[in-house]
Assembly symmetry: C2
Homo-oligomer: 311 residues x 2
């Protein structure tokens, strides 16, 4: 796959397919697909965890892995304004898998299902050389919030700090014997992300566009910018830096903005709202504004949309 | 996973989960899960194709692989009386994947979608060491046909010949330079199975229980027998042997019943109907009867329910 990234590949492949069903409101290219079923709007998404790609077996607790599998999928549904409803799980494991380990993954899954309040209702099991957990999640939404609804004049918000997960991943890979408390918190952010289901109603009601930050803030805002055909201007001084990330960057001599702007797997939400709706978002961070044009700017500087690509 | 098979593992893991939503009509343990959405019944299933587990890259054309991925999922939906509607595809490929090959898989997928008349509406792409195609299919059904509705007195039918796919697989693995015509047909049955969507309406209307034959006739009838709490008696002389399988068994000195009863991946349907509905099934094969009791019998002999386990 030389010279071709994940997004480019998806575009080329999905061009081969063609959606014919008129009940499909949203197809490829958003956090979820969306379909009309009588008076309901159902949303569909899938996200996979593959050993040695998305996780290293000896660096994550099985309960954390189960939790994360659920959370990353819920994050996509919430980003579309939806509530998670029913999931189907597809697992593939080596023949010599430790059953106790596998059961602990399911304990983590159960904990997450209880937290996010939905069920896994079916599944498929097969063998493989590396461990695979693939989740397919169906949700329901009153109003589908896409990536394409941002309008000039809208405010740009994020639901929380970004960059922590990437710092956590780096710390994890350092394989240190002892970690400071703030380092442990950063690692936890990476291993146990919490999807912002608490914001689902507000997103569904007020967001003109929304995306979950899995590929990095700039990369993901780039999808909103591209799909909505707008320019997004971020104000550097308004973008929050978490105290833990600041400590991390000082200790390891890093630039926090590399993390904040380009770190992946935050699973916070980036969204736009009409100016008059700002009163409803007191706990979230206003970081910029939507204008006519294209691209993502930090103050006056155009940013590269280099996201964290999984391929 | 010593001493534990696929079915046993699924049971142990799903016991950890607990379905709370009252709209879920059928959970784990059938070909599909089923959910009430207003006046509709939606069914959900998933089936995966993993390199070196489900397929060998140099033994299958990419178009065939795409076709099979779709067909095996449709087969599950049809077995529940459903019509396939919307799918989400999850793919993972090595970074050095040949894009042309991948596009040809999608050409096969597109051909199957056109044939079965539904859409893939979303997806997810990531990297992996071996190629993975995982499909999640949502269908719709008027009446959910489960594995548990067979009643004493019902007739047992199969929709077509069984055992061909396993013979085809064995031929494929022989790696011969030249194949006879009947051998090519057997191989095609393995590589390009056709889900019996032509029977969907009749299954939905008349079948008291149904399953698609993926693990072998006896193994899959065993699921109906177990879930319906009935005995199934097959009449040996009524079970059809395809001419091609007969030729194969003569040429290679095999017992055709090993294939017919225990060969996997046939993707024919095994189903039960009330006696009075027999007039609607003139092209299918009546192979036995349901009685009170348990187990699968061939005439008077109790059969081992040794299915083809993927693990």
């Amino acid at each position: 796959m030389k010279h071709i990234g994940e997004f480019q590949l998806i575009k080329q492949l999905t061009k081969i397919l063609e959606i014919k069903d008129k009940n499909v409101l949203v197809g490829f290219g958003d956090d979820c697909a969306c379909v009309n079923v009588e008076s309901k709007k159902l949303v569909f998404t899938a996200d996979i965890q593959i050993e040695n790609v998305h996780f290293l077996k000896d660096k994550v607790k099985p309960t954390q892995l189960g939790w994360k599998l659920i959370s990353v999928n819920v994050s996509d549904v919430v980003a579309c304004g939806g509530v998670p409803k029913w999931a189907v799980i597809s697992i593939a494991v080596p023949k010599n898998i430790n059953i106790k380990w596998l059961k602990e993954v399911y304990e983590g899954i159960k904990k997450a299902l209880d937290f996010y309040k939905f069920d896994i209702i079916g599944g498929n099991t097969s063998s493989s050389s590396e461990i695979i957990f693939d989740l397919f999640l169906t949700g329901e939404t009153e109003k589908f919030v896409s990536r394409s609804g941002a309008k000039p004049g809208d405010y740009v918000f994020i639901s929380g700090h970004t960059g922590l997960s990437r710092a956590g991943l780096e710390l994890l890979l350092m394989d240190k014997k002892d970690y400071e408390d703030f380092e442990k918190r950063l690692i936890k952010t990476h291993l146990e992300p919490v999807a912002r289901i608490d914001l689902q109603e507000k997103i569904s009601r007020y967001a003109t566009a929304c995306i979950d930050i899995s590929d990095g803030l700039v990369g993901d805002l780039g999808h909103i910018s591209e799909n909505s055909k707008v320019k997004i201007i971020l104000e550097k001084e308004k973008i929050p830096i978490s105290a833990d990330l600041e400590k991390y960057c000082k200790k390891y001599n890093k630039n926090p903005y590399d993390y904040i702007l380009y770190g992946g797997e935050d699973y916070q939400l980036a969204f736009t709202i009409k100016k008059e709706d700002i009163i409803h978002f007191k706990n979230e961070f206003l970081i910029g504004i939507v204008e006519k044009g294209e691209g993502i700017y930090l103050d006056n500087k155009k940013l590269k949309e280099k996201g964290f690509e999984h391929i």
